[in-house]
């Protein structure tokens, strides 16, 4: 077990900058998740830590040791690859035992460790099989088993669940979390799926185009995103964004736009008077307005699409050119084409600079 530090790490492929100035301190026993859209440099960051990719500049430390020029085999890490990367010619037992054999553990020791890992993962009955005789979920377990028998300093996982079907993914997610609570090994987990990130990470690193956008706990990311990208990436369905202008009126500050939108905020935003900003509100912070009298922070909208998910309902509504998603508990009360009033929670809103995308609420 160990800490991991990235210090000003950059990576270029040719003249394409894939990772830009990555700085990250990962604590011992932490479960940290790198999340971001495809191609943002998550795998590259992980592979640099594993030693499978050279570092263009900067330093990577595992514990107190600088590992920039260390071979992968000397770094004492274990990695779970997206496509499992099992050895196709070896059976499950040998796949899991390989790393131990290379480290010259005794045969009885290897057998004990492999059997222990197999029991944890529920694959004892598969030890004689070749990878091609296993289902996707079973292969995934073997790949994880191969990583945990080694008892490495750090686990690296690169989208380990992305090849599984939705149900199995949810199940494995919980199992991985349990496994981490048990083993307590520092774990760096890469995914493009914000749900996985939110449910598994102690802390989450949100990346975009090779640049870290925010490093924070799941609730902090959800409640106070640094910028419009993080706000839109975290949460499902995604946050609604409405372009508007800041207007001072009777000593109060409103956000308004041409579609007739008007929202009273308790923040003065003095510097932004008459300037363009982006207003954000999450689908779950919108409710029905049952009263007929017009009020602050209410909006009349038309229902475009109704998605009934059983426990909750997603309503896709619009006013003017603006579309908004709302999320209500229970069965739908309205049908397509209805005009309804929605109330926007007056306390749970986000405002971003139109130019930089940075949050204005910090």
């Amino acid at each position: 077990m160990a800490t991991v530090s990235f210090k000003n790490v950059c990576k270029n492929f040719g003249d394409q900058e894939v990772v830009k100035n990555l700085n990250l301190e990962i604590e011992d026993q932490e479960f940290i998740v790198l999340v971001g859209p495809s191609g943002c440099g998550k795998s590259t960051s992980l592979r640099m830590l594993a030693g499978l990719e050279e570092i263009t500049s900067g330093d990577i430390l595992i514990g107190d040791t600088k590992v920039n020029d260390m071979e992968p085999k000397d770094r004492d890490i274990a990695m779970v690859f997206q496509n499992y990367a099992l050895y196709p010619h070896m059976n499950v037992y040998d796949n899991m035992a390989f790393g131990l054999k290379l480290r010259k553990h005794s045969a009885s020791e290897i057998e004990r460790q492999v059997n222990e890992a197999a029991t944890i993962l529920g694959i004892e009955h598969l030890l004689e099989r070749k990878p091609k005789e296993l289902s996707g979920g079973q292969r995934q377990r073997v790949a994880i088993g191969r990583a945990i028998v080694r008892e490495p300093k750090v686990f690296l996982m690169d989208e380990p669940l992305s090849n599984l079907d939705a149900k199995l993914r949810v199940q494995m997610r919980a199992e991985l979390a349990k496994l981490h609570q048990k083993l307590k090994t520092t774990c760096i987990y890469v995914t493009h799926d914000q749900t996985e990130a939110m449910t598994m990470g102690d802390r989450i690193v949100v990346m975009k185009d090779g640049v870290v956008q925010q490093v924070a706990s799941p609730s902090e990311l959800y409640n106070s995103p640094n910028n419009i990208f993080v706000a839109g990436f975290i949460g499902s369905p995604a946050m609604n964004f409405i372009d508007c202008k800041v207007k001072q009126h009777n000593g109060q500050t409103y956000l308004v736009n041409e579609d007739g939108f008007s929202y009273l905020i308790d923040n003065q935003l003095a510097d932004y008077n008459d300037k363009e900003v982006v207003f954000g509100i999450r689908p779950e912070d919108i409710s029905y307005d049952t009263t007929d009298t017009p009020k602050e922070n209410c909006q009349q909208v038309r229902v475009d699409v109704v998605e009934n998910l059983g426990a909750e309902t997603l309503l896709y509504v619009s006013f003017g050119e603006q579309s908004v998603v709302c999320r209500f508990m229970g069965a739908p009360k309205h049908s397509v084409g209805n005009n309804i009033n929605i109330a926007l929670n007056p306390n749970r809103y986000y405002i971003f600079d139109k130019e930089t995308g940075n949050s204005l609420l910090k």
Binding site: K73, L102, R103, R146, R150
Partner: protein, 310 residues
């Protein structure tokens, strides 16, 4: 189309219980469009492989020695001779040495160079092209080249050998002729092994190799436990291609030693050539040819078993 078929089907089914028109129905089924379209290809295939093969069996049972155009029936005489002839045994022995030593060297060097090229990050293409050059040389020319280089009066290599005290006519000495023709074969065909194995290596999945590195494998351990097992099949394919080739190979040896001295380089292909075209003993040659075919098939089977067995 579909209506025609649905009308036809009951018509075919009805007479079946009566029994007799069954053969006619089967013949009709043979004349389906797809079979008719296959017919030309089958005819060509038959005329270029099956008929010659049948003729070879016929010829091996005949005696052509007295008159080429009027063979007489010989029964199994050619076949009995085949198994008793010490010259044939000698040729098989030479062929075996040629194949095992030659192919052994070719595989070791060829795979070694393929692994080197596989690990080379730059200049791979240039080096591959240079390394491949001997393949593009016709075997006859390769033989001539070897003959010039090793000729005792003006050969470059022979001269070098003389400088270190080896003073002999390389193709004229029983001890050196076979090694010399084997080395020419190695020179010419090792690159083919490299080419096949390199293409196999380049199509290996990268993830298991990376997994092995992370698991703690050094280069040699990675080679021993992952790369070689994963490319074993392609190496066997290369060996299969080359061993079948060697079985019917004559060009280079024909040019350099013509099988001599004292039959020390007379591999089975060359022996067949000699029996057929110098002694004009077509019946015996046919028997030799069929025996070679038989061995080749057995060899192929063995390799396929190694590849897919277990």
């Amino acid at each position: 189309m579909s209506t025609g078929k649905s009308l036809e089907a009951p018509a075919q089914q009805q007479p079946q219980p009566s029994g007799s028109p069954k053969a006619g129905g089967r013949f009709k089924r043979l004349l389906t469009t797809e079979n008719l379209m296959l017919a030309p290809a089958i005819t060509v295939l038959a005329s270029i492989t099956i008929f010659p093969f049948l003729y070879l069996i016929y010829a091996s049972l005949m005696d052509f020695a007295l008159a080429m155009d009027d063979p007489t029936f010989a029964g199994l005489r050619n076949w009995v001779r085949l198994f008793k002839d010490p010259a044939i045994a000698q040729s098989w022995k030479v062929t075996l040495i040629y194949a095992v030593v030659g192919l052994g060297l070719e595989v070791i060097i060829g795979v070694g160079v393929a692994l080197l090229l596989y690990a080379t990050p730059w200049g791979r293409n240039i080096f591959v092209t240079l390394w491949m050059l001997p393949i593009f040389v016709a075997p006859v020319v390769a033989g001539l080249l070897g003959w010039f280089m090793l000729n005792s009066s003006y050969g470059l290599y022979a001269w070098v050998l003389q400088l270190v005290g080896i003073n002999t006519d390389i193709f004229g000495n029983v001890a050196t002729a076979l090694p010399a023709v084997i080395l020419i074969d190695v020179w010419e065909w090792t690159p083919l092994i490299t080419l096949i194995v390199l293409s196999g290596l380049q199509s290996l999945p990268s993830e298991p190799l990376e997994a092995a590195e992370v698991d703690g494998a050094s280069y040699w351990q990675k080679l021993r436990y992952v790369i070689l097992p994963l490319s074993a099949r392609i190496i066997v394919v290369a060996m299969l291609i080359r061993s079948m080739d060697i079985m019917r190979f004559i060009d280079t040896i024909f040019i350099t030693t013509a099988g001599g001295p004292a039959d020390s380089t007379k591999i089975i292909g060359l022996r067949l050539f000699e029996v057929a075209f110098r002694f004009m003993d077509i019946g015996y040659a046919a028997a030799i040819g069929l025996s070679m075919l038989f061995v080749t098939i057995l060899l192929g089977q063995a390799f396929v078993k190694v590849m897919y067995g277990r």
